[in-house]
Amino acid sequence: MRIRVNGQTLEIEAPTLERLIEELGFSEQTVATAVNQEFVRSKDRGETLLVEDDTIEIVTPRQGG
């Protein structure tokens, strides 16, 4: 399935957002997520099914003004 993650197009196997995060190596980090511009709580990632053309954001804390 082809989706976009943080602005990049990826071919992935993961059926859920939680599996995607594991697949991409984020599972030990504190991240927040959104799918198609809608926030997805960390506890809901396991039940969030991914479909073709989904747009995913995975973010972490960063410096800001």
């Binding site: 511009q37 804390p61 960063r62 410096q63």
Partner: protein, 266 residues
Amino acid sequence: MSMPDDLVVYDARLSSRFLLGTARYPSPAILAEAIRAAGAEIVTVSLRREAGGSRAGESFWRLIRELGVRVLPNTAGCRTAKEAVATAQMARELFGTSWIKLEVIGEEDTLQPDVFGLVEAARILSDDGFCVFPYTTEDLVVAEKLLDAGCRVLMPWAAPIGSGRGINNLFGLRALRAHFPNTPLIVDAGLGAPSQAAAVMELGFDAALLNTAVARAGDPVAMARAFSLAIEAGRAAYLSGLMEPRDMAAPSTPVLGRAFDDGLEA
């Protein structure tokens, strides 16, 4: 003994009126020193995309937590209310705070807020339990609508973000202060020099938030201290009651009793 001059914003009582951004410093160590030198109790933070396996975000967050300051996450760079709302919700989960510095940017050259999207997002987030700190212009009507939307503080710009121009619209800022005497007003953006920060505090603004002027200074730690002193001085001056300017000179030394003054014209 004088009463403490604390600033109350939402659920926080603050003794420092200097809010500091955490971006663009030469190193994490200098950032930490600058925050200490500023005496800031609130620092702004953000959230960004990160590549899997990178730990940049994590080390930054550890540094901030060790400093024991309160964080104010921002929605910097968001162009629509929808983006800003989703970003705020992600920030609440990441940083564990319902405080959000709400930015909805409407124009590239000035980074001027899109005040229509701002009001829309402020209402959604306030209804969702957020404590919204809206980055706005000095527009009185927009300010009123932000308060109607649930905001309990306003953050008007002095000048465009990162411009260091100081007060662009003196009349507008004075009018805003006069129109909302009981709303905490934090000047955010455009302050480039400590004298400019002192100037906004002398106008009666409650606090100042800045980033670039400290982070990009030759010595950010010393500049943080300089701004801290200026903000404190401006606040003390405001509370003391500034004299009204006048057009002509008024002698400060008493005229009566001057030597050689026999009342005759020369």
